[in-house]
């Protein structure tokens, strides 16, 4: 039986439903020795800001049960360097590119979208509205429906590409935030970002991260991601969702696709296995064939909420 792995994400045809998640794949070139970038569903770049950012001091990471905390602090070379060096490399490699954007204000996001509007190598935009590693909680736009929607409106006014809003589960009512950004024009959603966490070095009585708190990722957060995708997909049927959070195997990906994700993104797993993104896609193909499912799009219909 032949299985169709391609998916339509906001009008963009992806080779597979498995993307490399933002912040866990560099700018793609780091991984070019380990896999062919044109085999991936898409590369979601590390978040790009208007100006270069140095990021946080070290230690920036701490291993935790079934996952890790990070406080990288959005280190990136800035949008101009991204367009001058990283983007041409990704285009030459034949990668489908989702540019992840991060800013300190709605205006920043709008300017980034305007800058990338003329870059045909960028097929989609993802708005990082939810990175927990910022100086002020006010920069976590996705904790408030109004500010999140304002960012989306600014971006949509300038963008040529479809726009995904990446949200956080660290809110009381995720559906309210999701509805606000969709009403503001977001073409799709990415769920979820890392969860804000903290770990303490008890032998020295201090935080394990220089930034004190950080983003929790890895399989530890997967049940939260599954819950979020299911809640939002149920409340807002028809809105494309990229499900992400602790996906390390094809079965993990299937979980998110069954509850309503259009595609999934593999993040922390790439740190352990540089080929995780392509191996999850290959495993998904076997999974679909074994269950007699011809295409990824058929999966949500197979999910029954009652046991």
């Amino acid at each position: 039986m032949t299985v169709d792995l391609t998916v339509d994400l906001c009008g963009v045809r992806l080779r597979t439903p498995v993307l490399a998640a933002s912040g866990c794949f560099g700018f793609g070139r780091e991984m070019a020795g380990w896999l062919d970038l044109d085999e991936l569903g898409a590369v979601v770049t590390k978040s790009v800001s208007l100006e270069p950012r140095r990021g946080r001091p070290t230690p920036r990471m701490a291993e935790t049960p079934s996952g890790m905390l990070n406080a990288i602090g959005l280190q990136n070379p800035g949008v101009e360097a991204f367009c001058a060096t990283d983007l041409p490399f990704l285009a030459d490699a034949g990668a489908t590119v989702v540019a992840s954007l991060v800013g300190r204000s709605a205006e920043d996001f709008g300017r980034l979208a305007a800058r990338l509007a003329g870059e045909p190598a960028v097929q989609l935009l993802e708005l990082n509205l939810s990175c927990p590693n910022v100086e002020h909680r006010g920069e976590v736009f996705a904790t408030d429906p109004g500010t999140a929607a304002e960012v989306v409106r600014r971006v949509k006014a300038a963008a040529r590409q479809p726009v995904l809003a990446k949200l956080t589960a660290d809110v009381t009512d995720l559906v309210a935030v999701a509805r606000a950004v969709v009403d503001a024009g977001a073409d799709g959603l990415t769920l979820i970002n890392t969860l804000l966490g903290m770990a303490v070095d008890v032998h020295h009585g201090r935080p394990k991260l220089a930034a004190v708190t950080g983003g929790l990722s890895g399989p530890a957060i997967r049940p939260v991601a599954v819950r979020c995708v299911w809640q939002v997909a149920t409340a807002l049927p028809g809105v494309p969702i990229v499900g992400t959070g602790g996906v390390a195997t094809a079965e993990d990906a299937a979980e998110l696709l069954l509850v309503g994700a259009t595609a999934v993104a593999v993040g922390t797993a790439s740190f352990v296995n540089p080929r995780a993104v392509v191996e999850v896609a290959a495993g998904l193909e076997r999974y679909l064939a074994a269950h007699g499912v011809r295409s990824v799009a058929e999966l949500p219909a197979l999910f029954k909420a009652e046991r």
Binding site: G23, C24, F25, G26, E30, M31, G33, W34, K46, R54, G55, P57, T58, P59, R60, M61, A62, E63, P65, S66, G67, M68, N70, I72, Q75, A210, G218, P219, A220, A248, T268, S270, F271, V272, P274, R275
Partner: protein, 281 residues
């Protein structure tokens, strides 16, 4: 020199003082490895998704009559290294390597001083082999907190023209830090190049002393790392551009641009928290 992933059989395990050493059958990594590079290891059937652990390559045996091997040295400091220490012969280890930028040997035969702290000394033996093959004179300074925590001083004595030992408590060699005998040795041995591996505060001090004597110094740093392949941005060190002294330091990934850096290029003062951090647990 693209790194590869190999499933490596444990060929040997031994204790060296306070440390553990594992020899892995890794023909492709052994073939490509250079001194200063590292491997990222993952072992065990742990279903809780542990991250890999980075280790400097201590020694390699290139493929000859037998398959090529790589040896790493480590201290048991947490669950990852505890798992590795518990491996038995013929167990499998999942390895990525060789990773990172190696030491750059002098273009001409030169006098080289190798400075190691704790198990950091282990990475310098592979370098000493290569420097000797290039007809360089090799002298060693090795230090540790105690005699037990010196790494294989006997082998350092065999590889080096001279060996100077320091311990914090005076239980072996002279009491004090590895940097204490450096000024005298740099002058007396007419050292042309310094190579160092050990804890960050030690590397900062060795770089400073070498700089004061106008001797180039390469250091292999150890930073907490999640991936080893350049995508997590955890293992950064602040690196300055000597041509632009006023510019703020750039955060360079030690897995790609390092782990070997020019000691004069690292903005040691900006390390802050990092200088106090230990190895990956």
């Amino acid at each position: 020199m693209t790194p590869v992933r190999e499933a490596c059989e444990v060929l040997g395990r031994r204790r060296v003082g306070a440390y553990h050493a594992l020899t892995l059958v890794a023909p492709r990594i052994a073939e490509a490895a250079s001194p200063g590079q590292f491997v990222e290891l993952l072992a065990g059937e742990d279903r809780s998704f542990p991250l890999r652990r980075p280790f400097s390559i201590h020694r390699v045996e290139r493929a000859g009559a037998a398959l090529g091997t790589v040896e790493v040295v480590f201290d048991v400091v947490g669950p990852g290294t505890r798992t590795l220490a518990g491996l038995r012969l013929h167990d499998l280890v999942d390895a990525l390597g060789p990773l990172g930028r190696p030491f750059t040997p002098p273009a001409e035969p030169a006098r080289c001083l190798l400075v190691g702290g704790g198990y950091g000394t282990a990475a310098l033996f592979f370098l000493a082999d290569e420097l000797r093959a290039r007809r360089c004179r090799v002298d060693f300074v090795v230090g540790a907190a105690t005699a037990e925590r010196l790494f294989d001083a006997m082998e350092a004595r065999r590889l080096g023209h001279t060996l100077t030992v320091t311990t914090d408590d005076g239980s072996a060699g002279q009491r004090g830090l590895v940097t204490d005998p450096l000024p005298a040795l740099l002058g007396r041995l007419r050292v042309g190049h310094v190579f160092a591996c050990g804890p960050m505060p030690m590397l900062a001090a060795v770089s400073r002393v070498a700089g004061q004597h106008g001797v180039p110094c390469q250091v292999a740093v150890e930073e907490l790392m999640a991936c080893g392949t350049g995508i997590c941005f955890s293992c950064v060190v602040p690196v300055g551009d000597p041509a632009r002294p006023g510019e703020p330091a750039r955060m360079a990934r030690s897995c790609l641009e390092g782990p070997v850096f020019d000691g004069a290029a690292i903005a040691w003062g900006e390390l802050g928290h990092a200088a106090a951090s230990g190895p990956a647990p």
